[in-house]
Amino acid sequence: MKRKPFPWHVVVFLAPAVAIYSLFMIYPLIDSLILSLQNKDPDGAVVFVGLQNYQTLFSSENWSKPFWNAFWNNIEFFLYHMLIQNPVGLLLAVLLASRIRGGWLYRTIIFTPTILSVVIVGFVWRLVLNPAWGISQGILDAVGLGNLNQPWLGLENTALPTLSLISVWQNIGIPMMLFLAALIRIPDELLEAARVDGASAWTVFWRIQLPLILPTVGIVAVLTFVGNFNAFDLIYATQGALAGPNFASDILGTFFFRTFFGYQLQPGDPYMGATVAGVMLLIILTGVLIYLFAWQRRLQNIQF
């Protein structure tokens, strides 16, 4: 621009945000990545060890088993969200987008669990599913499936699916709102024209609505991915840091927490903790980059 003197006001405007963000977010992230490349030698001195921590995590006997367990559990956790939360969220959004009377009330109610703290949600469901209270037994009895009742959170093969569904129940409001916002922006004339031509709601959805909201589908997918691979609170609040039973519900967030802070007799290890965080960062960045390059580019190809 035309201004000749050094624009001090630009610096003044930017400095506080850049300083806080750099000091409390970027610097700790970099510091953590550096720590993941260090460890203590037998004398207790900190030494640079390159990628050795990562190698230990992936292949040593003590580390690799819990790490891969948490990793695959996290994939399963993510798949439940992708296959249940997002399609059901989309379905609810399509129903709400039909301008039904009282839509705002349904929307507000369905979003309610999303605003509650994960700790509270975890505990509420722990109570509801607790065989001692017998709520789940009573409901299953009422529909004649009483003998299917189990202590869902306490069994190794049902704990993770149950926790995933609790998380889906809580977070479904987010994809629903994002899909709804995109659906509302589709011009009415377009939908009207299709209906006049005799298209069913089914056809309208697959041929008009879904193609037009594909950018939002991508955003929802990447938000789900980042959120799921960073999840911790629900499992910690419901099952504790040990992510029981027998680590059946352990995901990367809880594994990171235990590695960093230790548990029971195992002492905490900041170097290995930083290593786990480094792997999580890599996973999340991979997901975000796939979204940015593959999904966005394909969308552009479709548009032009």
């Binding site: 621009m1 930017l14 409390f24 700790p28 929307r107 703290s117 509420v124 980042v226 609170d233 960093f260």
Partner: protein, 276 residues
């Protein structure tokens, strides 16, 4: 178009009602039972409390064993402080990015945008070390600063997008009148009030509800937030249904009331913030 239209509408209502019931059922169940005695909680979980079964026993246990008013105050201070800082520093930065053309503009914008996708939690090891170095462990300040850093990326993104749409003439007129750049920033703020409301709404929930950072950075009794306090209390009183239900009710009701009061703003915030 063979089926009558009202039948379709009815089906939509049934589906939405069913899902709404599923969304509210566990929450209502907890609130209703929080006011009943132990026997009634187990023998008639779906009944409303009546004169015989009504009790505040759980709330009394709560009062006697945990300092929830103090936890509430901590949560309020942390959330309020972080939101204030987020809005202040992000609006300043967003103003600079939207208003001036300077060499590092795009780069600064991109740098600040990294945090939209990279979760701040992954830097926890570094943050704890920093907190120890700065002597800020077990203070509310460290939580406020970390949440501010967490909120800045999205806030700058939303606010600068909004500020770019403001008409130039207004600001140029003020400049001709001799207003300083700081004064112009100050005059701009009321014009972006809707965007500020959106940023407040989307930033507030994750801060108020967070368990991770209070647990790691400020677990002391004096600095416990509601979520951490509730989590500790619930862990200790697992088998005292009265107390647990009372604690859950106390954590749920204020949040839900606030939500119903600000739901329009919140919903606008979520949809404008995440969809470009």
């Amino acid at each position: 178009m063979t089926r009558p239209a009202w039948l379709g509408a009815l089906a939509v209502h049934v589906a939405l009602l069913a899902y709404s019931a599923l969304a509210l059922f566990p929450v209502l169940l907890v609130i209703v039972n929080a006011f009943k005695d132990r026997l009634a909680i187990f023998s008639a979980p779906y009944a409303l409390p009546n004169a015989q079964t009504f009790t505040l026993e759980g709330f009394r246990t709560l009062q006697a064993t945990a300092n929830f008013p103090a936890y509430f105050l901590n949560s309020l201070l942390v959330t309020g402080g972080a939101l204030f800082l987020i809005i202040l520093v992000s609006s300043m930065a967003a103003f600079a990015l939207a208003e001036y053309e300077f060499r590092l503009n795009t780069l600064t914008g991109l740098y600040l945008a990294i945090g939209i996708m990279v979760p701040i939690r992954l830097g926890t090891v570094g943050i704890l070390q920093l907190a120890v170095d700065l002597n800020l462990v077990n203070t509310l300040w460290i939580l406020i600063l970390v949440y501010t850093a967490q909120g800045i990326p999205l806030a700058v993104f939303v606010l600068s997008a909004f500020m770019r749409q403001l008409p130039r003439d207004l600001k140029d007129a003020a400049r001709i009148d001799g207003a300083s750049e700081y004064r112009i920033y100050w005059l701009t703020l009321p014009l972006v009030r809707p965007a500020i409301g959106s940023v407040l709404a989307i930033s507030m929930i994750p801060i108020w509800n967070d368990l991770w950072f209070p647990l790691i950075l400020a677990p002391g009794e004096r600095t416990k937030t509601v979520v951490l306090g509730a989590s500790v209390f619930l862990g200790q009183f697992v088998n005292d249904y009265n107390a647990v239900l009372a604690a859950l009710t106390l954590a749920i009701v204020p949040a839900v009331l606030l939500y119903f009061a600000f739901s329009q703003q919140l919903i606008r915030g979520i949809t404008s913030g995440a969809v470009k």
